[in-house]
Amino acid sequence: MGWIQYILINVVETCLRMLPIPIRTGLIVLGNPGRNSPVILTCNFHLTVARVKWALRGIDAYLLVANSRGINVWCAATGGLFTNHDVISVLKTSGVEDLVDHRQVILPQLAATGIERKYVRKKTGWIVQWGPVDIKDLPAYLPRRKKTPAMRQVSFPAEQRFEMAVAWAFPISLVAGLILLPLWREGILPAVLLTWGLALIIFMAFPLYQRWLNPRSERIGFVLFDFGRGGVQLILLAGILLGLFAVAKYTGNFSGLFFARWGIMSTLVVLVLSLDLMGSTPLYKSGLHADRFLKVSLDTDKCKGAAFCEQVCPRNCYDVDHHRHLATQPRAHLCVQCGACIVQCPFDALYFESPDGATIAPEIIRKFKLNLMGKRLVKTVGRG
């Protein structure tokens, strides 16, 4: 894969980021691996596989592509589309067992919401090691198989914010363009520019208004969406209207129709963009999922301080007190309710607790995943 091809894949698939793009599952040989070379497993989202291959240039390894229905690791694992069975299947049917002498497979850490280390080991004998969150850290992780705390955490740096802005702007501007095509052809270019501009502003400026976002807000209504009490949208819209006013004054286009058109169009774009703003970041649970109200609780009687939670938490919520053999949650407020810690705890010491006091036991979290709308088939049950 050359530079040009890699860049092209990234550009095209970032535009289509919201859609799954599956690739053939199975074994990919990277470089010239031997019987002790690392075995790395990832999902079958085309962009992810391209990025993993790119990051591992010059490294000899076996790459296993497991069926995640063409969806990225985190979403697929949390949504029950990337499961134990998919991992077991590629380990058993790809022929990798005949190629290496060891039985260690490196999985992306974010897969820990859906893949159970214990289960895979029991069924296949393979030992799952949780690799870094970010693909780029793979080469640094591989030699010693040790992760720094930074390698365990999700973040939302400028490049990822840009990626999400493009991922939203492209489909919205496409739809807007198609709607305007028969209605108002001259309006297409300004509408597309408006969409891209707003998307870039909203995502790139994220750190500036992040502290006003309220992930616990109950008011996820039609107008207010993710911006808590709607303040940010109103400020943004006021800004846009002022801008429109200035443009109108400057070009002499000052008319009611001009305002109506652009006012309505910008409002719509802002609303669509804020539909699931929190869910478009790795820092919050989707604002559309009721799971965002859940709290991870620790049963200190069951906890033995084995630190599985610390190893898989993508927000670094845990510290393990190695003297008392006990996990603590000093950064619990950062929790994104992904459930990875609950799924992986070998002592079932962690569980979800909802605001009304009901609990969801670990076996339910392991078995029943969230669907697209963030619902589980099985309702919360009392702890018995």
Binding site: L19, P20, P22, R24, T25, G26, N67, R69, G70, I71, G80, L81, T83, H85, D86, I88, S89, V90, L91, K92, T93, S94, G95, K123, K367, F368, N371, L372, L377, V378
Partner: protein, 221 residues
Amino acid sequence: MSTYVLMKILESAPSRYDRGIRWLTLGGLDRAYERLTTYIKTGQKVLDVGCGTGALTILVAKKGAKVKGIDINPQMLEIAGERVKKMSLQKQVKLEEKGVAELESEKEESYDAVVSGLCFSELSEDELSFALKEINRILKPGGLILVADEVKPEAGLKRYLNWILRLPLAIVTWIVTQTTTRAVRGLPDKIREAGFEIRSTRYNRMHSFLELVGQKPGGKN
């Protein structure tokens, strides 16, 4: 039967799955299952690979066989379990969360028949050949493999026609559920290559849906 891609929408909401499938296939799938299960005899031991919500499993059990249904989707199995209970078939039916790659834990030559409805089209090439090899291993000599699944039409014109009919549905399904099914190409050949003899095949008019009866050689006929 291009409507099978829509099945994905239903799968994401397992509780609506059965009603939806029946509606989409206008009863076609039920009839296919009825025909296939005429091969099942009382007292036989049968495995249902990819049992989903248990439609085929239950039909097999009603023939008096002992069935084990396996599937990787726990939500579907939950519904299958409820249906089995409702029909008081618990004694004959066992359900297990298990994929085809885990068939190794089944004993050699332990089943009289293996049935599978709309499952092979969910598997990758690797998985399908692995599954067929394993099914051959766990079947008794003379045991039957009974398959109903979506296949790729071989003839050129029908292939294009099917593709065109399928496309809009595939797009809708993809947008709603972000997945799609893959019709199997050359399924009878693959089954033959895995060591089975083909006893009968029956296609729909579009050649996009196949009912197949295969047999593991040996045993007394």
